[in-house]
């Protein structure tokens, strides 16, 4: 039996990861350690002293509130990185996609293989993050294991549409503003560090539209063992819709860029 075509492009990305896996895994470990220590423990010690705040956080410590939200937000950040420069480079710098398309691989295999690799990267990052959460003693329920695939899904809700955007860019100059004006504001204001209910009323609907809020709420409720079935399914459906729309857009933009 022959290897599925998209698995062949996936295996390229997995193979080249050996170039950077050490630094990549180190940062996937250090990142949650630093954030949970500074924000969760340090800042959290102040937050926890304030009884009304503790109530708004759902009666858990700030660290316990923050950690699963940060898990989702980190997945978004990693996905955004993996779907910009590597995708752009595979068109313009190393021209990896062009090399693949001279072989039996088709555009759909190039796209699906790369997205699958991003998902695996997210799985590694989310697993590492969860292990760090456990080390910090912020795990409250076995539901945290379900938060890992939820974080992968959250990341892919960004990875797929961002890859669709990145493939057709003539230069990498669009990526820095994208991080500055979209990724970072979402990271800060989509419920990761404080509940969206703290936002001014006019801004709350904006937060609810972002895929990140859905990812944060899903990961948090799962990790705390408080996930409601309907609410969780709605989150999953919303995130899946972004993955599907992003992949469909990717099919169009990959084809437009690579098949001329």
């Amino acid at each position: 039996m022959s290897t599925p075509l998209s698995l062949r492009s996936f295996s390229y990305w997995a193979y080249q990861y050996k170039r950077t896996w050490r630094s990549s895994l180190t940062s996937s470990f250090l990142n949650p350690v630093l954030f949970l220590a500074a924000m969760g423990v340090g800042l959290g010690s102040l937050v926890n002293k304030n009884a009304p705040s503790a109530a708004r956080l759902g009666g858990v410590s700030y660290l316990t509130f923050l950690a699963p939200g940060l898990l989702a937000a980190s997945a978004m950040q990693i996905a955004a990185q993996e779907a910009t420069y590597p995708v752009h480079g595979a068109v313009k710098w190393l021209r990896t996609y062009h090399a693949m398309l001279a072989t039996p691989l088709r555009v759909v295999d190039v796209l699906v293989g790369h997205l699958a690799w991003i998902a695996v990267r997210l799985l590694l990052v989310a697993s590492m993050f969860t292990a760090v959460m456990a080390a910090f003693g912020s795990v409250r329920s076995w539901g945290v294991l379900a938060a890992i695939p939820a974080a992968v899904l959250t990341g892919m809700a960004f990875g797929a549409p961002i890859a669709a955007f990145a493939v057709g860019r003539e230069s990498d100059s669009a990526f820095a503003p994208m991080f500055r004006f979209l990724v970072v504001p979402m990271f800060l204001f989509s419920g990761t560090f404080f509940p969206v209910s703290q936002l001014p009323a006019v801004l709350r609907p904006v937060a609810y539209v972002t895929p990140l809020w859905h990812g944060v709420d899903l990961c948090r409720s799962l990790a705390l063992g408080r996930a409601g079935a309907v609410r969780s399914l709605l989150h999953v459906a919303y995130l899946l819709a972004w993955v599907a729309a992003g992949t469909a857009a990717g099919m169009r933009s990959f084809r437009r860029t690579l098949v001329t």
Binding site: Y12, R95, H98, M100, A102, T103
Partner: protein, 311 residues
Amino acid sequence: MTPDVAPLIYARGLTKRFTDFVAVDGVDFEVARGEAFGFLGPNGAGKSSTMRMIGCVSPVTSGTLRILGMDPAADGARIRARLGVVPQDDTLDLELTVRENLLIYGRYFDLPRRVIRERTEQLLAFANLSERGDDRVEPLSGGMKRRLTIARSLINEPEVLLLDEPTTGLDPQARHVLWDRLYRLKADGVTLVLTTHYMDEAEQLCDRLVVMDKGRIAACGSPRQLIEEHATREVLELRFDRADNAVIAEKLTGLAGRTEVLPDRLLLYTDDGDRALAEVGARGLEPDSVLVRRSTLEDVFLRLTGRTLVD
């Protein structure tokens, strides 16, 4: 048609249109098995667009194209599995080693690792890269990278090898090494299809070629045939250091089939260069330097596509 005589590549009215221009304008050609076939033409003639359609990475706008008897629109992946492609710009992974590049590429064809390992050693020897197998690609010279690209394109033992400007940008030594490798492939029965704007390359490598200009085929045949049809047997080149070449050309009227006046010299296209030269002397002209040479493909090429610079 039996498989033995059916052309490996068959094109009729092949056309590639982009939004604002026509890159390939209804060309017809056939490539037979075992042949070395060339597309010769200036930049922008449509060579690379034709190659990309044959490589099944660029959809045909209109016309018929069959490769290995299949239609690229329906069977692109199956055709590509049997092609080797050397693109105009290398697509090597610069961060990986030479061997790893072959491994990665072989995996795209789903070759078992054992087969890739065996072929890698043969191909590295063939490409004169055995010593560099475990080195990263990035610091290799241009010629080495080009040889690696060719080695990589052979990993699936292709029936047809497509080479888009295989030696552009290489120094003379590197070009000759590459030509030597391509000869060997041809001797092994691999069908070669290449584009070039080097006449010597076309003359050395191609059994048959087409001259393309502005998306159309201007001429077709073996290098010898093209020279016979579109040029004279010999060319007499005359240089006059202190004289107006146009004035001198007047005095040469009727001496050759065609006279071309260039800023630095005069070209007389004739079947007998020595006799024409004697006649030049008889007309009282004393050129500062003289060259009688055989016509080359370059003369044909410039005749067909003009001397105007194409950018």
